[in-house]
């Protein structure tokens, strides 16, 4: 990519030479400087269709104009990588001729406006990204952030409807939702986050790229009718802050949110995979943000070719749509493919079988131009490079904040509580409590691959043909990144790798979604730059490449930016799925060991939050090699079948980790060592570094210091606390249930 670089503040605001257009391009989200650039590139004013296309392709959402330079810092190569960043989804080799494609993507802004459809179409979009590369989607995970449920009715509403939307789409299309994570923080009150990750499985030879090939080949549109939904979603919705009208004002943006139809996508999915199995497609691309404009421009750009596209042939949901509306519509459940002329009739027959609409809307050319036709009339004619490559890239202007950005949360604990009280308060905290009320709304088993369901292990585990397993984890604690963006982002990578180690899996690759505030503000730019550096270093330290991802900026409201939230989705492999680790203590008499570098701190911890402390202060500095060695040791022991349980120490620290192992197994534990460091050692955090494992004494002693034994009906830390497992369970079970639904009906 060879975009120009603009240093913010380096040029005076551009003057447009045509006052009549000024209002129009600004409404579409382009700046004066960008419009001047368009004039320079084209040598003329763009018409309405062209301006609409520029406004989308040059939006932050499509162009990554504030992040692209930073993203180059991330390592993308590794021995298992088959498809790297730039394709619809990345893919890694998992052996036996199979590939796993995966990606995480945000649908934050639509979900803040209309949580059910926003979240549903977020799932629909990420599924399309995965089957666009030829992989059958086999798992969904999601990463959600909302405001404080105890304080905000709106946050409870967003939680309930976003979860319902994810379930609606994933359950209906028959792809299991196998994992995820949720955090609640005040800073997400105005801007909730809905990130969805999908994994797909494909034989190597079915993987397909999106680059257009072969001038003279036919451009075929598959799937749903094109309507007026989602017009401007990428530009006016996803690439700007919500205004001062705040929560109420979002209702005005509802027409920019798309409506999902999982049944249409189910047919489209089966149809596309059938077409690929029959080797009928030359290239394939999904239609997501910016609809036909983005899909056609990306295909042409990657192929170094041109496309002619006739909007008059596009089947419409409603009559009278303007050419620009057809080009920018974000109607869901559509794909674009390139077919050689001799295979078109076979493609049509397969589509007929699946009852999927299939329309020839254009052709591949060697002109390097994207021409938009309306019948015989040319209504747009742009160099592909101008749309895709000439978007200005902005230099960030990072500056660390000189005062805390985020206010302290309301204190739940007043200080002076006994350790047992602190433990129960932490287990009941919405950030730590059981997620059952949420994950029971998701089908986690369809597909017959799910070996470890939610709550059974630190990572989801799916079986592969032949007996191996895939492990997946998604994580990103914004509060810790707010304390120290570089260390906090690295922790997210460590945490995912630790989760994989607990089931015996070795990381193959990761995808990330960078959710941040307005990058034009120096302190947000600093958060972004530091977090990317932290990610890059952690990836290098663990040897895990980044195979794709997504950036969501402008998650900011008048009250301020969201917590900086890089979300990491990591995929790994274990040789024998039947040996996948579990979280729960199980055998009376098993020894419990503490494994890995253990240097917890209360900075940025859940306990600090409950005490009303703002997210400030340094995080523990971890020696990457020690982290890596600890992960390898746990992984190898799990693979050898030597352990009964393995769990990483994360939110709530050692005491919460032990409690979670007790609750999962329905059995107690007694520590034999005194906890010297008091509250900091019990509840301090350093995620992704240390583990609690249980098993035969000899096996766990080889990994770390033995700290106690499994058994009894209570968690006992001599001289510190003694709490019945039933009490631990009750605290943990109730924490989120009370907010996730007032009407959850159970036995």
């Amino acid at each position: 990519m060879t975009g120009r670089t603009i240093t913010r503040g380096g040029s005076p605001p551009g003057r447009t030479s045509d006052g009549s257009r000024a209002g129009n391009f600004r409404e579409l989200g382009l700046t004066d400087i960008e419009y001047e650039l368009i004039l320079a590139v084209l040598g003329r004013h763009p018409n309405e269709v062209e301006l609409a296309m520029f406004s989308l392709m040059w939006s932050e959402h499509c162009s990554y104009k504030h992040s692209r330079r930073l993203l180059r810092r991330l390592p993308t190569e590794g021995p298992h990588v088959l498809l790297g960043p730039g394709e619809n989804a990345g893919a890694v080799d998992v052996g036996d001729g199979l590939a796993v494609a995966f990606k995480v993507e945000s649908h934050n802004h639509p979900s803040a406006v209309e949580p059910f459809q926003g979240a549903a179409t977020g799932v629909g979009g990420i599924l399309r990204d995965v089957f666009a590369v030829g992989a059958r989607p086999i798992a969904i995970l999601d990463s959600l952030r909302f405001g404080e449920p105890a304080e905000s009715e709106r946050s409870r509403y967003l939680l309930e409807r976003a979860v319902a939307g994810i379930g609606h789409y994933g359950n209906s299309i028959g792809v299991p939702t196998v994992g995820g994570e949720i955090y609640f923080e005040q800073a997400y009150e105005q801007n909730c986050l809905v990130n969805a990750m999908c994994l797909g499985l494909a034989p190597h030879n079915r993987l397909i790229r999106s680059a257009a090939v072969g001038p003279g080949n036919v451009l075929v549109l598959l799937g749903a009718l094109t309507g007026r939904d989602g017009i401007g979603g990428a530009s006016v919705l996803a690439s700007a802050e919500f205004g001062f009208d705040g929560v109420d004002g979002v209702a005005d943006k509802r027409p920019s949110v798309q409506i999902g139809d999982p049944f249409a996508e189910k047919k489209l999915l089966e149809c596309c995979l059938d077409l690929l199995d029959r080797d009928l497609l030359a290239s394939l691309q999904d239609l997501g943000a910016a609809g036909l404009t983005s899909a056609s421009a990306e295909m042409a750009s990657k192929g170094g070719l041109g496309l002619d596209l006739d909007v008059a042939r596009v089947p419409l949901r409603e009559p009278g749509m303007e050419p620009f509306e057809v080009m920018v519509s974000e109607s869901q459940e559509r794909m674009l493919c390139v077919v050689t002329p001799d295979l078109v009739s076979e493609v049509v027959a397969v589509c007929d079988h699946w009852e999927v609409l299939c329309t020839q809307i254009g052709s591949v050319t060697d002109t390097g131009r994207l021409r938009v036709l309306d019948g015989n009339e040319v209504v747009g004619d742009l160099p592909v490079a101008a749309l895709v490559d000439e978007c200005p890239l902005y230099e960030l202007d990072p500056e660390p904040p000189d005062a805390p950005i985020y206010p302290p949360p309301a204190a739940v604990l007043r200080g002076g509580e006994e350790p047992a009280t602190l433990l129960l308060a932490l287990l009941a905290s919405p950030n730590i409590a059981s997620r059952r009320a949420v994950f029971e709304q998701y089908d986690c088993i369809v597909g017959s691959r799910t070996v470890r369901r939610p709550d059974e292990a630190d990572a989801a585990v799916l079986q592969l043909p032949g007996g191996a397993g895939l492990a997946i984890s998604i994580d990103g604690n914004g509060r810790r990144v707010a304390c120290d963006p570089r260390a906090g982002a690295a922790e997210a990578v460590y945490e995912c790798s630790a989760n994989l180690a607990c089931v015996g899996a070795e990381p193959l690759g990761l995808t990330n979604c960078l959710n941040f505030g307005n990058p034009e503000k120096p302190h947000v730019a600093w958060q972004l730059e530091e977090a990317v550096e932290g990610l890059a270093r952690a990836c290098e330290a663990l040897g895990v490449p980044v195979v794709g991802g997504n950036v969501s900026l402008y998650n900011e409201a008048p009250a301020g930016p969201i917590l900086p939230t890089p979300v990491i989705g990591m995929v790994g492999r274990l040789p024998d799925a039947s040996r996948a680790g579990r979280i729960g203590f199980a055998h009376d008499g098993d020894a419990i060991a503490l494994v890995g570098p253990f240097a917890p701190s209360l900075n940025g911890s859940e306990l600090a939050k409950l005490r009303g402390v703002a997210p400030v202060g340094g995080l523990p500095v971890m020696e990457p090699r020690a982290v890596r060695d600890a992960h390898a040791a746990v992984r190898d022991a799990v693979r050898a079948g030597a352990l009964t349980s393995a769990h990483d120490i994360a939110e709530g620290g050692l005491a919460v980790a032990l409690a979670e192992c007790c609750v999962a197994g329905g059995i107690g534990a007694r520590l034999k060592v005194r906890i010297a460091g008091g509250v900091q050692e019990l509840f301090g955090e350093a995620p992704g570094c240390a583990f609690v494992v249980s098993g035969p004494e000899q096996a766990v002693a080889a990994l770390g210091r033995i700290i106690g034994r499994v058994g009894g009906h209570a968690l006992v830390i001599p001289g510190t606390l003694e709490v019945a497992v039933s009490e631990l369970r009750a605290a943990r079970d109730g924490g989120l249930l009370q907010y996730a639904s007032s009407a959850v009906w159970s036995e």
Binding site: K266, K267, F439, D443, I445, S448
Partner: protein, 221 residues
């Protein structure tokens, strides 16, 4: 022994049902728009969201050409098993009594539950171990079974949720019912998702083994 699994557009657990059936016999897919039953010995109408289920669960699938053949097959005494959406389809088609209503919670629920087998003589449960509850997952939004008292004999209830396990508010804890003749069976739990301890449980396999045993007896007879 050959099973046929009906595949509608929007079926989700069709492949799972096929794989489960293949653990005890042969199994083939039956496309909704076809009519040929391909000589199968038993039909499975699988879970999912047939035709999107936007109208009412199972309401459109009953009109599929393949369902005409299945109805005829059932009328001749052929074994038909409806799982989840398949149960809903069979109720809509009038092959089973009663109806499935939205869960009391009005939410989708995915959960491992225990169900009790009420009859040891049915072709669908004859291989189930006596007196032991089966651990089988449910996953549905519309699974609350209802039938008027006079419309359902007690002997038609083949499965009940174990005490405290009813996930949806079903009338009399009913999890699965058969028709009067006993050759059509519908249940909300997913036995095809309980055929391997690796993925949670193998208790559901007994349902498929029952069908195989019944067909084998019939062939001998």
């Amino acid at each position: 022994m050959k099973f046929g699994v009906v595949r509608f557009p929007g079926s989700c657990d069709d492949v799972d049902a096929l794989l489960a059936a293949q653990r005890v016999g042969e199994a083939v897919m039956l496309w909704h728009a076809d009519r040929d039953l391909q000589g199968v010995d038993a039909v499975i109408v699988p879970g999912g969201f047939s035709y999107g289920d936007y109208l009412r669960a199972g309401a459109i699938a009953r009109f599929a050409p393949m369902m005409e053949s299945v109805t005829e097959f059932a009328g001749d005494g052929g074994l038909v098993l409806g799982i989840c959406n398949g149960f809903q389809v069979l109720c809509e088609a009038g092959l089973l009594p009663g109806a499935l209503l939205p869960n009391v919670s009005l939410r989708f629920v995915c959960r491992q539950v225990e169900v009790e087998v009420m009859s040891e003589y049915s072709p669908f449960t004859r291989a189930c171990p006596l007196g032991e509850p089966l651990s089988i997952p449910v996953k549905h939004t519309t699974g609350r079974y209802y039938a008027p008292d006079h419309g359902l004999a007690d002997t038609q209830v083949l499965l009940r949720y174990a005490p405290g396990q009813n996930p949806n508010g079903s009338d009399r804890d009913i999890a699965g019912v058969c028709n009067e003749a006993g050759n059509v069976f519908g249940l909300m739990p997913h036995p095809e998702h309980a055929v391997d301890p690796l993925t949670g449980s193998s208790d559901g396999l007994a349902i498929f083994e029952s069908i195989r045993a019944h067909v084998a007896d019939r062939v001998v007879a």
